[in-house]
């Protein structure tokens, strides 16, 4: 489950994270990962802090955050269900399962259910192509999905 700190101390935590990782060569991506781990997304308030500490412009930092699919600008639902949409999963009926997941949750990809329970996201390859279709629910992998397994995953996520 995605449970994260309240965002009151964004600046303070950002400073601490940047301080810890600044010594790395090319530290920006590791910093953004750490920030997203901490808050569940990359809060806008953290960007000027990162920019200042790394001697970058805010635009540069914002450009990086928005370039990569992983970084969220808003918090996700309590659970994140990622369905693989790539070719190997397509060959085993992945598209049908994706439609089913959308219908069960009543949302499209990149959306969160109104109760904040589940965010549905596409992923392009989990490297489980020999046992497709596959999915990831809150970091846990599931392969050889069928309707029953998908329904169970969705039910688990909705709780």
């Amino acid at each position: 489950m995605n449970i994260h700190l309240p965002r009151a101390d964004v600046t303070e935590r950002t400073l601490a994270i940047v301080g810890e990782l600044k010594r790395l060569e090319g530290p920006l991506i590791p910093i953004l990962h750490e920030i997203q781990d901490e808050f569940g997304y990359v809060p806008e308030e953290s960007l000027p802090v990162i920019a200042q500490e790394l001697n970058l412009s805010r635009a540069e930092v914002y450009g990086v955050v928005t370039f990569y699919h992983d970084f969220r600008e808003h918090p996700a639902g309590r659970h994140v269900l990622k369905l693989c949409r790539a070719e190997a999963c397509q060959s085993m009926g992945g598209d049908r399962l994706a439609e089913r997941a959308k219908a069960l949750l009543g949302i499209d990809f990149h959306e969160t259910t109104p109760d904040g329970a589940v965010t549905l996201e596409p992923v392009y390859c989990l490297g489980l192509c020999s046992c497709s279709p596959s999915a990831m629910l809150d970091g846990e992998l599931h392969a050889r999905l069928d309707e029953a397994v998908l329904d169970a995953l969705v039910a688990e996520a909705r709780q």
Binding site: L32, C129, S130, G139
Partner: protein, 518 residues
């Protein structure tokens, strides 16, 4: 003697319930007070049999699979710990035809050893290549790799030794070895399996590359979609550092080499080497124009070797057994072995390492066993989302860089995705364009705009709007993308599109919709 029970920690096994099998087996060991221990190995690559449980017997390892938690009690009743008979018993692991038919050089230890035991690694021939490299002249190491005929396994097939030679000969106060572990192609999982199943072989290969070129720092750039690989790889780096395999004195020599594992952030284009370098530097993953080559000006503008995981992981065996040993496998200019990744709608999916030269038909029909659905094979996409779709008519194509290129295809990272006759090739062509549109870094116009126009044209064909004219337009657009794009993303997206249109024209001539009568 304590019986060793092997249960993979590979992501595929985990995704198929390996954790609950471990729990059940631990429970039975305790309940029955048996003298047995569980080893978490990598995967043998027979993914249709995962989770594959193996028992070490005096006679060799015996395999059971696919095992579900519910099968565990009956397995113990049947005498699992002594390799007893059971409906799930597959006999000796090494005798399973899928495994027996392989030539495992790069994946020799994968699935066999405990991936995080350096002792296990050494006991199975690990570190011999590096031990040899530390006492060799850099130029001699480079010559050995060149001599082996090893070509880049990421897809481009550039001779690894030539790349290393360029970096060796480029002066620089600091040089880098960057391992491209951003395995984003659908249908591929070889990099993931090596990182999860035999991470030390990659560390050893990178250390050899460092010594050969004068680089002292390495980065493994992998994907956030691979959390298990990241965990195993990071732990292995720590272990290697503590054991003196990495650090200021590699294996007690005067050579220094250390490395870090870095995680990407969900951008497919970062598998392109120059985009990857930008990402490592903390920038947007925009593709760089070449020249300058990364070998001259790579990471932080320093001379940089950037190689795929499998290229680097193949180096230790070359140094250990000699260039000739490796070169003697294969055909034509494709030397050595290639880990085929058989995926999609296929009965026996998994990793099959073999010398180059098997035909596509042998791979799909004999080794893969045809489709999982039991329906006829319609198309096979080789080389990931940028690879061509081959029909049965091209099943005589041998697995070789040049042979695939001669038929307007590519072997890429050797991912093979099988589709049965329910596949709609116009839809697959549209997806190729859509994927390019989603993942384009945006730097060059043919890729950024071309892919979006490509989706629209494919939709027009599907809707029956001037299909003939739109097919010509799609071919023209592909031509522009192929020759006008900066990197392989835009440049190779035409492969799946054009191959689908060329080999499956019937799917591009949908029955026109009947106009509603007034």
């Amino acid at each position: 003697m304590t019986v060793r029970i092997f249960i993979p920690r590979d992501a595929a096994a985990l995704a198929l319930g390996a954790e609950s099998v471990v729990e059940a087996i631990s429970g039975e060991i305790a309940a029955r007070a048996l003298d047995a221990t569980i080893v978490r190995n990598g995967s043998r690559g027979m993914h249709w049999l995962e989770p594959l449980v193996e028992i070490e017997t005096a006679d060799g390892r015996v395999a059971y699979g696919p095992v579900k938690a519910g099968d565990v009690a009956s397995l113990f009743d049947a005498g699992l710990t002594s390799g007893g008979a059971h409906p799930l018993c597959l006999g000796k692991t090494e005798e399973i035809p899928f495994l027996k038919r392989q030539t495992r050089l790069t994946f020799a230890r994968c699935g066999v050893i405990d991936p995080l035991s350096l002792d296990d690694y050494r006991a199975h021939g690990g570190l011999r290549g590096l031990e040899r490299a530390v006492v060799m002249q850099p130029a001699a190491i480079v010559a050995e790799v060149t001599e082996s005929g090893l070509r880049g396994r990421g897809g481009a097939g550039f001779p690894t030794g030539i790349k290393w030679k360029t970096v060796l000969e480029t002066p620089g106060a600091r040089k880098y070895i960057v391992c491209n572990a951003d395995e984003g192609d659908s249908g591929t999982f070889a990099d993931r399996m090596i990182m999860e199943g035999d991470p030390f072989v990659l560390i050893e290969g990178m250390a050899i590359a460092g010594i050969a070129t004068g680089a002292t720092k390495g980065y493994i750039y992998t994907r956030s979609e691979y959390p298990h690989a990241i965990a195993v790889m990071s732990a292995a780096v720590e272990i290697a550092r503590a054991a003196g395999v990495l650090g200021t004195s590699v294996l007690g020599s005067a050579h220094a080499f250390d490395m870090e594992v870095r995680t990407g952030a969900g951008a497919y284009v970062c598998g392109e080497e120059t985009s990857l370098l930008n990402s490592l530097e903390g920038k947007r993953g925009l593709v760089r124009a070449k020249p300058p080559l990364p070998a001259h000006k790579g990471l932080f503008d320093r001379p940089t070797v950037i190689n795929n995981v499998i290229s680097l992981a193949s180096v230790p065996v070359i140094l250990d057994k000699g260039a000739g040993y490796y070169r003697d496998f294969g055909m034509g200019r494709s030397r050595g072995t290639i880990p085929l990744q058989i995926a999609g709608n296929v009965r026996h999916g998994g990793l099959f390492e073999t010398a180059f030269g098997l035909t596509l038909g042998e791979i799909v029909d004999e080794i893969g066993g045809g489709t999982a659905s039991g329906r006829p094979v319609k198309a096979v996409q080789v080389g990931g989302p940028l690879g061509a779709y081959f029909p049965r008519a091209l099943f005589d194509t041998p697995f070789d860089y040049e042979a695939f290129a001669a038929r307007d295809g590519l072997i890429g990272h050797a991912g093979i995705v099988v589709f049965d006759d329910t596949a709609d090739m116009l839809k697959q062509a549209r997806f190729a364009m859509e994927f390019c549109a989603i993942e384009s870094c945006g730097k060059c116009t043919p890729c950024r705009i071309g892919s979006i126009r490509g989706v629209e044209v494919a939709d027009a064909i599907a809707a029956g709007i001037e299909p003939e004219k739109n097919r010509v337009l799609l071919a023209d657009l592909c031509n522009t993308m192929k020759f006008g794009s900066l990197c392989a993303l835009g440049g190779f997206t035409p492969y799946p599109v054009m191959s689908a249109m060329t080999h499956f024209p019937e799917d591009f001539s949908p029955v026109p919709m009947v106009e509603a009568a007034e």
